[in-house]
Symmetry: C2
Subunit: 460 residues, 2 copies
């Protein structure tokens, strides 16, 4: 009954090198999260269905992985419901738990459930996998890690400033220099909608405007007209088409474009605060850029909106994003809890670092030295040395099986080669009797015979 | 529609201190795994159902969490099957994926699937959560981490020796001194069964014998008789009741007890090899002990069997276990792949370290210094200093909201206290104008005014 083994589509196995590279990214992010004062939490992989359902829209509900109840789960269904043979009726009866779809809703649930044990403002980070029954495609998986940092319980704009700094700190630590942190504000988008005179046309407007560089002003306007945006609105917002210059200049232009919108002006004020602070504090390697077309998460963001793009020349969607939401925990009954948070796109950051060859060589270094095994006596002697090397923190191994023939010795040498182990130690009768070790550099082929102390200090 | 938030039974939220302590254990284990030459892999949280089902017995199949298919999943069921309303018929039709039940079967699947990319012997470690629909109870959860290290592709007993060393290295690194590594061998158990004359009475025999210390020899024999073990068998194995002394002495007794069993003598030979090696190499803090009643995983272990108990005086089940299995990958079509592996019980190790107060204080240390916020200008000046401290790797925070009133200032001080932040920095007009900072030790109450360089070097 041998089965050809495989894994579900949209999921992945990770080998040692991949685990090491992913850990490197996650550890770097984690270190900066901690330096910025964020505290880790972890939540269960599955939540009660009612915690998740209805929080991500109909599409989200559909993409949530549901867990089948255990035991005689069909008994709970009335004959009437059962005979209808309808998923809508049956699913809630046979499934009471679901896999985490993101880290935000579990975080909101956590905050409400543990509110009496939490000091607010609560700065938390969370790095855990999430699951989505999405159609798998290049770069989109059914299981993937999210890396989130959020602060809840404060409306201070200093949080937004710090999140810009945090993005800069993480990407600088990853040596990924020149990322663009795009920022916008929901209130500016509301201001634009005010000027258009139609809130429901806002997305059409920003989507069209976003294509300016690609298709040119005339085509953009055509698209806007085809979506039913009034000529008057397009004229009034004409200056947005030529929004140029640095952050400060753009802010000045926006002030006149949105002068009639109170909420728009409030958005400008917020952006200006953040930009001034960042100009004073300076970023290490990232660039902060105003982007009025940035409209991600429009349904829940209420203030700042962030998105990070890879350095110029790297083709990749956003590698991070976030924003401020004013009512994270309301769905669970805790009102007035403003929050702001950002997220890092682990898989995409991985691809970018790979493309730019930015992973340090050291992170995939595994075993430093392999002791070739020529028989039980030699192996026993070798294991004594291996034990001492390990006690010094040196990654050392003994090949477990004895090489009787030359072919078997060759096999052990090949094993070291294929595993990229840089040194082997050869112990025969002579070495055993003189209590020494012959160390061979696998790259240069150079050999030398040394005692244990020399071996240890050399490998250390 | 506020819901009272909760999590599914048998699952857990972890707060910052808990995450830190769990990470400390996992990182310590991981470090030793790597020093011993093990490579990390990661597998998906869910596997195709056919990969998992039938691998853990009927009870296991029942305890596997099954994931409901997406979309119109009822359509796949014929009316005949549907009308039977039977879980046995319906489940395979509506669920094709299941959550990982342990790390061993996914590892076997991984080895077979990637056999052409793997260098054998393959030493892998894996630290990931598993899920079981078990009845939750104290210390038993529906989601928990397993920490496994295995070697496949070698029958060498040096592996067993190294696993004893690995247990010793990990528990020594955790400062958990005096754990007992109990060892037995499946072949010795087979030898005992040979002597009893009935393989199927073996478990009854070992279970009864294991109670010797608690209930005494007579009661043990009574139990054996009640289970149908022959008087002749009990008499022949009488010497097991008085198996005393160190490992070597016990081995000598076993040699005579099992002298008639070829397989039993083979088991003794293997144990003797391991004991001799460990006696030569010496353990740091653990004790290696022969335990002929150790019979865990009897269905799949074929050679050595390991179990680790907490130091004397700590009431806790085993905190680790493992053994050799001769056909890990056969179920997936790859024959002749002997393996041996061990596992660490994270949750129980956590409880033991907690009970013995062995977690280092440093691991739950979070933010080092909080800058009190007296207003935007002071905050802006403070954030400049915070930015510089962070660049030096110092965990620093600015309280995001300005304290206008004395009450608000007190709130910020309380916030620092409750979060165990050891230092706060106070910046008012004076500090701002003289470019200095007033540093307050939250424990002693002591204050001093310093410049940024002094502040940095002090906190570092």
């Amino acid at each position: 009954m041998a089965q050809k083994p495989s894994i579900p589509k949209g999921t992945r196995d990770f080998n040692a090198a991949e685990v090491a590279k992913r850990s490197y990214i996650m550890e770097t992010i984690k270190e900066q999260f901690q330096i910025f004062g964020f505290q880790p939490i972890e939540t269960p992989s599955f939540e009660n269905s009612e915690t998740l359902m209805g929080k991500y829209g109909d599409e989200g509900d559909r993409l949530i992985f549901k867990i089948l109840n255990s035991g005689e789960y069909l008994k709970k269904i009335s004959d009437e419901d059962y005979n209808a043979k309808s998923e809508v009726k049956i699913t809630p009866k046979i499934s009471e738990k679901a896999l985490r779809y993101d880290l935000t809703v579990p975080f909101a649930r956590y905050v409400v459930q543990h509110q009496n044990d939490i000091e607010f403002p609560f700065k938390r980070y969370q790095i855990q996998p999430v699951w989505r029954a999405d159609r798998p495609q290049k770069g989109r998986f059914r299981e993937f890690f999210q890396c989130d940092a959020d602060v809840v319980g404060s409306k201070s704009l200093f949080q937004e400033v710090e999140f810009v700094q945090l993005y800069d700190a993480v990407f600088s630590a990853l040596k990924l220099e020149g990322v663009t942190i795009k920022i916008n504000n929901r209130k500016i988008l509301s201001g634009i909608a005010d000027v258009i005179g139609a809130q429901d046309k806002l997305i059409d407007f920003t989507v069209a405007l976003d294509k300016l560089d690609k298709i040119g002003e005339e085509k953009v306007k055509e698209e806007m007209r085809s979506k039913g945006i009034s000529e008057d609105g397009i004229t009034k917002l004409q200056p947005l088409f030529t929004l140029k210059g640095d952050f400060g200049n753009q802010i000045e232009s926006l002030k006149s474009i949105l002068s009639a919108s109170e909420i728009g002006l409030k958005g400008i004020e917020e952006l200006e605060f953040i930009n001034t602070a960042i100009s004073n504090l300076k970023l290490k390697t990232a660039i902060l850029q105003l982007d009025v077309t940035l409209a991600r998460g429009l349904n829940y963001y209420t203030g700042a909106i962030f998105e990070v793009s890879a350095p110029e020349g790297v083709k990749m969607g956003s590698i991070g994003g976030g924003g401020r939401y004013d009512d994270l925990t309301g769905i669970f009954g805790l009102k007035e809890m403003s929050g702001v948070g950002i997220s890092f796109g682990l898989d995409r950051i991985y691809l970018v670092l790979e493309e730019l060859n930015l992973f340090p060589d050291t992170i995939t270094e595994s075993t430093k030295v392999l002791f070739i095994n020529f028989g039980d006596n030699e192996a026993m002697y070798s294991l004594g040395a291996v034990t001492k090397l390990r006690a010094e923190g040196i990654k050392a191994e003994l090949f477990p099986d004895a090489a009787i023939s030359g072919k078997q010795k060759k096999k052990q040498m090949n094993y070291a080669n294929r595993r990229n182990i840089p040194y082997v130690v050869l112990v025969g009768d002579q070495e055993l009797n003189s209590e020494v070790f012959t160390l061979k550099n696998m790259e240069s082929g150079e050999q030398k015979t040394v005692d244990l102390a020399t071996l240890t200090s050399f490998l250390k």
